[in-house]
């Protein structure tokens, strides 16, 4: 039942995920952070099978950190995305595949460009201007088709994201109540109050 969205703008990527932890029909928590800061310029929103999600996200987080410690510089968004995709693709054909879907938002400090990657549990990777996972995607993607602007300022980007959140709240039966929104740009990652 997780919902997550992300969109690019002029020099930034906005990533949003709901903050609910659910056990069957019961909400057990409403302040869960499902967006990991993998590196100073890389965000990863994760959703899917409870248990798999946290396990996989921490595995990725620590390996990305290890690379940075070994080589002093971190992986660029494009390389990190390829490596994470490979992890999922290899997992898919193992005995216990991870069921985790991801949105990767990064800012490449060597080319000064924002990048957003849509990744699913099969290891499908696509670079996209905007993306969503979960039931929210059916509402958000059509809204983003209409309102997304890759040259939009951060304020405009947040306004577009708001439309998505409001639409899901209005139309989805099992809509989550709260969202956590983070942004990544040239200055790094930070939480945005919405």
């Amino acid at each position: 039942m997780d919902v997550s969205f992300a969109l690019t703008g002029k020099g930034y990527v906005l990533v949003a995920a709901d903050t609910t932890a659910a056990h069957s029909i019961i909400k057990v928590k409403s302040d869960v952070d499902k967006i990991k800061e993998l590196s100073p310029h890389l965000l990863m929103a994760y959703s899917g099978e409870p248990g798999d999600t946290v396990q996989f996200a921490e595995y990725i987080e620590r390996n990305i950190r290890l690379y940075q410690i070994r080589n002093t510089y971190g992986l660029r968004p494009q390389s990190a995305a390829s490596w994470i995709r490979r992890s999922l693709a290899e997992s898919l054909r193992s005995r216990h595949p991870y069921s985790v879907n991801l949105l990767l938002g990064g800012y490449d400090v060597s080319t000064y460009t924002p990048h957003l990657y849509w990744v699913d549990y099969l290891g499908t990777l696509a670079e996209v201007p905007f993306a969503a996972h979960g039931y929210g995607s059916y509402f958000a993607l059509s809204l983003l088709d209409r309102y997304h602007d890759p040259e939009a300022s951060l304020e405009e980007g947040i306004a577009t994201l708001r439309r998505c959140i409001d639409e899901v709240a209005k139309r989805l039966v099992v809509s989550p109540g709260k969202y956590l929104v983070k942004v990544v740009d040239k200055d790094g990652t930070r939480v945005i109050e919405i």
Binding site: L88, L125, E127, L141
Partner: protein, 208 residues
């Protein structure tokens, strides 16, 4: 629904006069939901050889990376570019390695083969998902729109097409076939390979 239809997408290759063409749509979907309208499935292997991977999108990326690795090692050790016939065998044996747990991809190969006399002759081939090769003298198709592609290509293709005519033929074939397929579309990309250059064009189709 079959896993081969999960992400959608189609590829076609055609033979012309001293040239070949390969084209695909650009859709990436999850069943009926479109995720991206810029997902390329055709990749260059050498300056005169391209390969297309219609099928499950995770395997498109994996196989692209596997073949890039193997072709690069071949090129640097042999000190020459790989020829289409050899690459086709590589594709076939790589896929057959996974005979009982296959990659869900049906590759399409198009290129110009160097003859002993130094000239180039057109080469196209396709394989199934476990590497059974299908050589063809006219055209090969694969992907979710393959039935429609067969029909349109059968009607439009003729032997001895010059590069520009071949471009028109393959573009019309692909565009009209994917319009009848819900899982392919969202624009297309066409490569026409000739002796001294490759012409690449992106096409806009019905973007709905």
């Amino acid at each position: 629904m079959s896993i081969m239809q999960h992400n959608g997408g189609s590829v076609i290759a055609m033979v012309g006069k001293d040239c070949v063409a390969i084209a695909s749509d650009l859709r990436l979907g999850v069943q009926s939901l479109s995720i991206s309208s810029n997902f390329e499935k055709i990749f260059p292997v050498t300056e005169r050889l391209y390969v297309g991977f219609p099928g499950l999108a995770t395997d498109v990326t994996t196989l692209r990376e596997v073949f890039r690795y193997r072709v690069n090692m071949y090129t640097i050790k042999e000190e020459r570019a790989i020829e289409p016939t050899i690459f086709t065998q590589l594709v076939s044996s790589t896929l057959y390695e996974r005979r009982f747990g296959p990659y869900f991809i049906e590759p399409v190969i198009a290129g110009l083969q160097k003859t002993p006399s130094g000239s180039y002759e057109p080469f196209i081939a396709a394989t199934d998902l476990i590497g059974c090769i299908n050589f063809a003298k006219d055209f090969v198709v694969a992907g979710t729109a393959s039935e429609k592609l067969f029909g349109v290509a059968e009607g439009l293709w003729e032997p001895g097409l010059e590069p520009e005519d071949l471009f028109e033929t393959i573009s019309q074939t692909l565009m009209n076939a994917v319009d009848r397929d819900a899982f392919s579309g969202w624009g297309a990309i066409v490569h026409v390979i000739t002796k001294d250059k490759v012409i690449t064009r992106k096409l806009k189709g019905r973007m709905d």
